[in-house]
């Protein structure tokens, strides 16, 4: 086993994901199987290879450059009402959330 249940609970906390005890056990089993496949990468020699972060990123050919910024000009954004329309809870033009700090 590459992982323990404690590892799974730690990663779930990092991901803000509540897992039931049953899900945690299943996740341990699944992730362990998947990570076993991924260990194959250790075999391949990547000495001196630059990591590929993006496709076509920063290409010499300007037309094919896939990292172009648009002109920095003001443009209309969503109206407040429209932006809040899908919120589970809103009020006074803001998103509402449960208490952050207990007083």
């Amino acid at each position: 086993m590459r992982l323990t249940e404690k590892d799974v609970r730690y990663v779930a906390a990092l991901a803000n994901l509540n897992l039931s005890d049953e899900e945690t056990g299943q996740m341990l089993h699944d992730l362990d199987g998947i990570l076993a496949q991924m260990d194959a990468l250790a075999e391949i020699d990547t000495e001196g290879v630059a990591p590929m972060l993006q496709v076509l990123f920063g290409g010499d050919d300007a037309a094919n450059d896939t990292a172009r910024l648009r002109a920095d000009v003001e443009r209309p954004t969503l109206d407040n009402e429209v932006a809040l329309a899908n919120a589970p809870m809103s009020g006074e033009g803001y998103f509402k959330v449960p208490k952050v700090i207990e007083r």
Binding site: L17, L31, A40, M52, V55, T66, F95, V97, V100
Partner: protein, 473 residues
Amino acid sequence: MTRHTIASIREGLRAKAFTAVEVAREALAFAERENPKTNAYLLLCPERALAAAAEVDRKLAAGEYAGALAGVPIAVKDVILTKGVRTTCASKMLENYIPPYDATAVERVEAAGGVIVGKTNCDEFAMGSSNESSYFGPVRNPVALDRVPGGSSGGSAAVVAQGTAVVSLGSDTGGSIRQPASFCGVVGVTPTYGRVSRYGLVAFASSLDHIGPFARNVRDSATVLGVISGRDPMDSTSADAPVPDYAAGLDGDVRGMKIGLPVEYMKHATGETADRIHEAVEKLRAMGCEVRDISLPATDYAIATYYIICTAEASANLARFDGVRYGYRSSDSGTLSAMYRNTRGEGFGAEVKRRIMLGTYVLSHGYYDAYYLKAQKVRALIAQDFTNAFQTVDAVVAPVSPFPAFRLGEKVNDPVEMYLSDIYTITGSLAGIPCMSVPCGMADGGLPVGLQILCNHFEEQKMFRLAHAFENS
């Protein structure tokens, strides 16, 4: 309805054999009747469809140009935003989400006269290879109802195969257009990375996500790609490269075209799927193409590479679903942090949670170099394999999938086995090159097989020309 193509609709409208509104009504009625068999549509949008069709009829009556897709019924995968029309990503998380804007691809389709008739089912957040992870239930393959349609764009492939849409839009991150196209016996195209704007595509893995078309022939797929391609200021990764008239360039000669057959792919291919690929290769030779063996040595590492990179990116992209701005919110949470955890625990399905966990793990302290950085280096080697190959060949051909459509439930409980089914499609995705699936016969008692064609960056025209010649040979 099932026999319509873009050309037959254009001709019918021109000859006044029917109106765009009549075509739209017929498509909607047919979809309504047929959908219970496959569950391929999550929603039909008659109001929007009929308004778009009426606008086409108005333009035609006024003698105006109505666009390259005038009156064509089109379905859109439910990970692509449609203003005012519910877009769920096939997830409980977005069960009631009504987008406030259209994706650029949707805007462009409608500007070209396309008639969006509905939103198609898919794997939850496009994560899956069988369309079984949808919160709204699996899609059945219209060719064989006990089989999966492939995934993740299973619904978009199924509606085109079933004839409830003429063409459709899907998304592809590691094979999500090509594999369902092959399973359902239709044409599916993943363009060059950056060719089509992803503005309004709900992000899964940003360095790998593409939007592309499904169609019943190569010509229609080329027409749709031409409409949705091109620079978009709303997507900084969209390329400014000129968009050729793909459909007009289909008829060029393919004699003497040099084609590579990767030995690493064919060593895994067995059974009738391999037989169909070998026959397709013979057909390409008979057409005057020169087919030779090539080697793509990093192929064996592609699955591990892909599932590290895509899950890492997904874990970051899906952080936005926290119950604050849109989507599901858990009701019984006293504090903000409990609300986040409960919302995500209740709102995401098993496969999405698995990928968020895996992605978070490979990015976490102490593992980043061993997994994520290593995978990005191997990705460079996989891309280099193709760069090397395209110095000596014009195109690469390969199977799309090691096997035809499998039965519902067959692989659903084994994520490793499910991931392995993506072996032939993920290399092209990692390299960001254009690739497509074109039907090449049947296997195992009537299940479609797809031939994959891959070309170098921005060489869609060449890819379409070869596919079109193959289709008509």
